[in-house]
Structures are given as C-alpha cells and as structure tokens.
Assembly symmetry: C2
Homo-oligomer: 436 residues x 2
C-alpha cells in the first residue's frame, strides 16, 4: 500500500523524538500498520539549528501554514505547543480535511470542545494520546479498553516534575526549593516551572481524562487547582509516620452532586501502589463499575516516551483513513451528540479527610481550643499527635488527621483556628485520599 505522509509542526524534543522513532522502528511500525508512515515535511522556527534526528526526505519550512495546506500531507502532527497559533493551525488543517495528531494538552483542555466540533463536522480525527501521561496509553485505555464501564473515579500522578520534587523531599530530605533546583538541573523542570509546580499542567491533563471518563465537555475553568510550593519536608515526614506518602494528584470523581475535578497534593496510604510511584514516573488509577481498579504506569514525559504516543496515534489514524467517520472512536470517548453536561461540584462542597499541621504555643488549653473549633464544625478527629518541643523553639507542631468533612466546614474552622493567638504561622492543610 502507498505510504502515508505526515507533516510535523515543531521539531523540538518531541518532534525529533517522533522522527527518530518512526525512522528506527520503520520495520516494526510498517509490519503493524500495514503501510509505511513517512515524514514528508516539517515546520521549524530556525532552519539552521542542528537537530538530533535524521532529516533526509523531510522538506523543511519555517511557515507552519505550509504544512496544514500541503495537499501531499495526509496527517498533520502538531508539536509546537501553546495555544496560538497552534489552535489556528489545527483548525486550518481540519478545514483542509487533514487528520491531526497533537501532544498539546493546554490546547485540548482549553479549546478541545471547539476543535473536536470542527473535526467532527469535517469527518476527520484529532488524536491526542500524547497529551496525557507521556507514553502510557491512558487515553486509549479509558476510551476503548474500559468502554464497558461506568467509570466512577480516576486519580493520577500526571505531572512528573512535581512527583520528582516530592520524591526527592522524601528520599533525600531536601526542601521544596532545593528539589525544584535539582529538577531544573536535570532538565525535568522548565526555567519557569509554574505550570508544573502550581498544578496547571496536571489540571490540563485531568480535564482531558475526566471528559473521556464521564462523557462530559472539557471543563478546565472549573477544575480546582493547587500546587506543591507549600509542602515542607516535615509534612512529608509526619505523613510517613502516619503511614502515608504525599503525592500531587489529579482526581476526577462522579458523585450524586455531580463531578469533582480537583488537582492538589494528597496524603495517600503508603500501602497503595500509587504511593510507590516515584521520581518522574506517572500513574493513573481508574475505577470502573465492572473492571474494579486498574492502574497504568509509565514515563510521563520526554522525547521518546511522548513520541511513542504520537506514533501510536499515527498508526491508529492510518488504520482509520478508509473507515467511515461515524464508526471511528469518538474524540471524547462518547459520541459527539451523547456528550452530556454534568454539574461540576464546587470545591466548597467536596468531602475530604484532612491532614492539618499547626504550630502552637506550648501552653495548656490550646488543644482544647483547637478541638472545640473543629467540633463546632462537626469535623471528627481521627488522630492528634503533638510533637515534642525542639530546643530554642517556643512552639510545637500538632498534626491532626480528620475524618471526611465538607471543604467549606474545614475552611470555616481554619479561619477560626488561624485567628487563635496560640497558633503561629500558617496552618498547613493537605487532603487525604484513600483511593476507594
């Protein structure tokens, strides 16, 4: 059969990785797909930059519009990232009847509803396996592998940078800032790491996973986001003593009130497999009513892991080239006309158990004040640990684990606690997830 020609927009890390994988594994991939996949053209910013991938046969342009308009190109692979002009280019490619593959999670999370509508109307596919979990085929697993299930919840370690830093804090006792510096040195974090450590990147990914799991539109704006900047080594240590590990999770859960969409640090029971997912690795647990729990683990970023997902999408799209659009796997797992809005539960209504760390003046009556305030909000305490005083400090840390309570009750209690004169500094609050 005639080879399929792709055009790549962006030959950075992932773009080069994709060219390398297609080149190195041409035999394996052709034996699977039944035809060759060739890179016919690529758009780059700097034509003269040296690139770490074979460039023979690839027509280079500096104008990405060339790629989305070239009639020789069957499939456009968008690997430039960012919202614009990626959005415009993808819409243009769709309008020209081209299938699109993208690794751009921000774009899908923010503009996916518009992009998929356009693709649906044109009868083309926009594939985005590489947008979540690097090489872990989690989009395929959710969309096809678990298609029999009513999915009740999913939770993922879906940002390698934050997981690296939290692992470093636990294993090496580094504080957050030091762990971040190390992540930057090793190339795991950007110079501007905000997207990662403040949870935005994870929120993009969670938005996509939730939509596919529940058959709802993409809801990035309604996703609650919290990063890991405030976690201290002491929190990691105290959590450990209580039998937990601190992980940064994206959680999407279906409840009677609607769908919870939230990204924040969590205490996880150490016995959970997820608690042992360390370093830059990613993992997603999905709970479906028929299958029970499944967990999918792998490298969450990097040139070749992401290329693995891009090329898997390429093979899928190649296979679907001759199929009628109505029978292809829908973009968001559910047929376009079967996507249903479900209410997104406001964070104040979410129920969680909590870990609290308070720095209190070592005097009698403090604990009574604390437990009274929590009690007034009907927050049940599971355990309280008062750490011993360290030399030279006038205060001692108190660690409290609560039973599940509504977020707004905890917010009110925290306001009152924070106002106590016997409590110094900010109270640390971390949610507890048992993944059940």
């Amino acid at each position: 059969m005639k080879p399929v020609t792709t055009g790549i927009i962006g030959l950075g890390t992932v773009g080069c990785g994709t060219v390398n994988v297609l080149h190195r594994n041409v035999d394996e991939i052709s034996r699977r797909a039944g035809r060759r996949i060739v890179v016919g053209a690529a758009a780059v910013r700097d034509r003269n930059r040296a690139r770490d991938c074979p460039m023979q046969g690839i027509q280079i342009t500096t104008d990405p519009v060339d790629i989305v308009t070239d009639p020789k190109i069957d499939i456009v692979v968008e690997l430039m990232g960012g919202e614009e002009p990626a959005r415009q280019l993808i819409l243009q490619a769709i309008a020209n009847g081209k299938h699109v593959i993208t690794a751009n999670k921000a774009l899908i999370a923010l503009h996916g509803n518009e992009i998929f509508r356009a693709a649906h109307n044109q009868g083309v596919t926009v594939a985005f396996e590489a947008a979540v979990g690097g090489g872990i085929p989690i989009i395929k697993v959710l969309r096809e592998g678990l298609a029999a299930n009513r999915i009740n919840w999913l939770a993922g370690i879906i940002n390698g940078t934050t997981n690296f830093i939290l692992t470093d804090m636990r294993e090496n006792g580094n504080e957050f800032a030091e762990g971040l510096r190390l992540a930057q040195q090793l190339g795991y974090a950007e110079a501007d790491p905000g997207f990662d450590i403040d949870g935005i990147d994870a929120a993009h990914k969670l938005t996509i996973l939730a939509s596919i799991a529940f058959g709802i539109p993409l809801n990035f704006q309604q996703t609650y986001v919290e990063g890991i900047r405030d976690i201290t080594c002491n929190d990691v240590l105290y959590a450990e003593e209580l039998g937990y590990r601190i992980k940064h999770l994206g959680v999407a859960r279906r409840t009677d009130q609607g769908v919870e969409l939230r990204v924040h640090p969590c205490l996880l029971p150490a016995s959970r497999l997820m608690a042992s997912v360390n370093g830059v690795m990613n993992a997603i647990v999905v709970e479906g009513d028929a299958v029970g729990h499944t967990l999918h683990y792998g490298v969450g970023a990097g040139a070749e892991a992401t290329a693995s997902a891009v090329v898997a999408d390429l093979v899928d799209v190649v296979r679907a080239l001759t199929s009628d659009p109505g029978n292809r796997v829908p973009h968001l797992a559910f047929q376009a006309d079967a996507i249903k809005n479900l209410p997104i539960v406001p964070m104040s209504e979410v129920e969680c158990a909590f870990y609290l760390r308070l720095q209190v003046t070592d005097q009698s009556g403090v604990l009574a004040d604390v437990t009274r305030i929590l009690g007034d909000e009907n927050i049940s305490i599971k355990s309280i640990i008062q750490k011993s005083k360290t030399a030279g400090s006038a205060t001692v840390p108190i660690i409290i684990l609560t039973y599940p309570t509504r977020e707004r009750s905890m917010d009110r209690a925290l306001d009152l606690l924070q106002a106590l004169r016997t409590i110094s500094g900010s109270i640390m609050r971390i949610r507890v997830e048992v993944l059940r």
Copy 2:
C-alpha cells in the same frame, strides 16, 4: 443506528457477567459505541438452571451450533472455555462470516494460528482481550497503545491464584498447601487447581502476549513452564531478608539468540512495583524501546472484570463492522503476512541469576565443596548466607544468590551439588528477575 445482535455461547460466571454489564451500562455503552448492543441468543448446557442475570429477550438454546449459524447474530461471544467444541464452533462462526469474541486463552494459545488464519481469510475479527489479565486492557495496550515500539521484553503476574497463594505465604506464613486450600475456599482456585499452580494457565497467556509483542506465531509448545508447588515459606522469608519477593511470572524477552518464553517463580527486588502486586491482582510490565517501562495492573479474573474486556471487544468489533478488513487492527498486532518466526531460545541457553537453598550437614568443608562446584561452572556468587542451626536439626540451610549464568551451567552444577553427601534433600532453585 440499528442495534447489533450478539449470541453468547456459555452463560456461566463470565457469560452472566457479560449480560449484566451490557444490561446495567446500556446507556454508557451505547453513548460510546453509537448503537445498542443486544444479546439476542445464548447457548447453555442446562436450560433450567437459575441464572443471576436478566434473561428477557435472550433466546435460549442448548445447541451452540444454533448460535454460530443464526443469521440474526452479527457477533458470536464464546465463553464456554476448553479446546473442543469451542474450536469447531468458532471456526464455524468464522465460516459463516461472523465476528467472534472469546475469553478462551487455552484455545487461542493452542489453536490461535489456525483460527486467525481462518478469520483473516474470511475478513472477520476474532477478539480476545478477555483471554489475558481479566479486565486489564493489556492486549489493546500492546497491540495498539505501544505500536510505535520495538518491544524488548514483558513480564507479568498473569495468574491470580498463584499470586494469591504466594501473597498468603508471605503475609500469613501459610505453607503452599494451606494457601491453596484457602484459595479454593474463597473460590479463587478450581477443585483441580493444576492449570493455575503448575503454570499452564500463565503459559497460555504468556504465549499470547509474546506473539503480540514480537510479531511471532503462537508458540505454546515451546514455552517453558514451572509452577509454585515447591516454594516454601522459608524461601519466601529468606527472599524477603535479601530484599526480594517471590512472584510467579511469565517472562518473554527478545535476545540476540531469539525469544525467551518462560513461566516460573522468580525473586523480584522488593522495590519494583511488580513486587507489590498482591492477592489475586494481575500486572504486566512491558519494556518498549521508545516508551521505556509501562505497567498495567488490575483484577485478573472474575465475572465482571472479564466481562469488561469482553464488552470492550464488542464495542471495538461494532466499530469495525463497516471498516475494510485490511485496515483493522491485525489479530496478532502485526499484519498476517508480516508475522515472522523467531527462534525460541531453549531454556538451557537462557541466562538468569539464581537463588539456591541447600540443606547442608553442619561440618567444615561443605562450603568449600559448594563454591568449588559453582566456580567450576563459572557461576559467580553474589552472596552466601549460612543460617544458624535450629535445635534438633543436623543440617543448616545455606542461601546462595548468584550472578546471571546460563541455565545449563546451573543444571550441571546442581547435579553435582545434589550428589554431595553433605547436602540433604532437594536443592531449591528459584530464578532472580530484576526486570531490566
């Protein structure tokens, strides 16, 4: 769109589970597939047996031939198990132009080459996600999700019964026989548990996974198989002391000499995620050249987990009903004409590190004999631990960990060691897998 009608052969545990899942999740599944999937008929052995699933609308027959010949039935779901008459029925369904879904791992492992050839010639699909790893969509992951990769190896805990027993031995200190009894009481093991505990079931599954991973024909007869009957609590304990856990693994590995296909107990480093896969859970690690390691974990058996895979296959097949057969996902991941025979490495040529447990007479010179025999076979010793003598015993256990060595060298050394008069009882030998 018009509903798709399936006929199920066998309404046992998995059959009923499938009917229940299709019934309960009819909305979710239809929203995904774009049309309803109905069970039009089912073949059962006993028409009068009470069944734990809704039977309305299902035409019951006691002759499975009715199902494979019924022109109203688009897709045949074979859930009767066993080799015959399942093989004949499936071939007949294929000849009648019907797509087939099966959970029958023995059938696929033993007769898959014949069945897939027939299906390929007829332009129909035989789907078998449920044959391996229960609800874990590992077939889809390997065949599609990791299609970009040259897969180097995979290793799986793919039999829940053996994993349950080994977990019980470690957690509760039960010996094998007791763990097996418990597994039988809980319904995790058959009255005749040989298929599970002797590794046959795992070998069926490994055969299928290896074929899909490497693009080779199904090679059950050449798969090396060893069960867990001889593992003792002491082995579990000694392994633990050395930082390992004992798991029953299926391992398929590509080497310069060919493909290794082997099922046997292993010592795994306790730090590996696989070492924490406990109870009846299954997990498979796959190493691809682009993606690195991915791990997929879930419930490996049971009515609804298996039904989850059966119904996912149904949705896939429904989507492919209108596609041209040449562009469907090939049965064994690689196009039928691109399946290549690779030599299967004889077990004697496989290289492994070993754990040895010897019961020796407590007298000087024994260790010298043991190390000399191993040294003569160029087997390097990583560690030797001589346990202290227990009261009333004339012998002491010696635990040896070796560096990787060829299996036939170890066989020769073991013959010589076993002949030593200072060694009593059988020497225990367990392979060590580091999953790299």
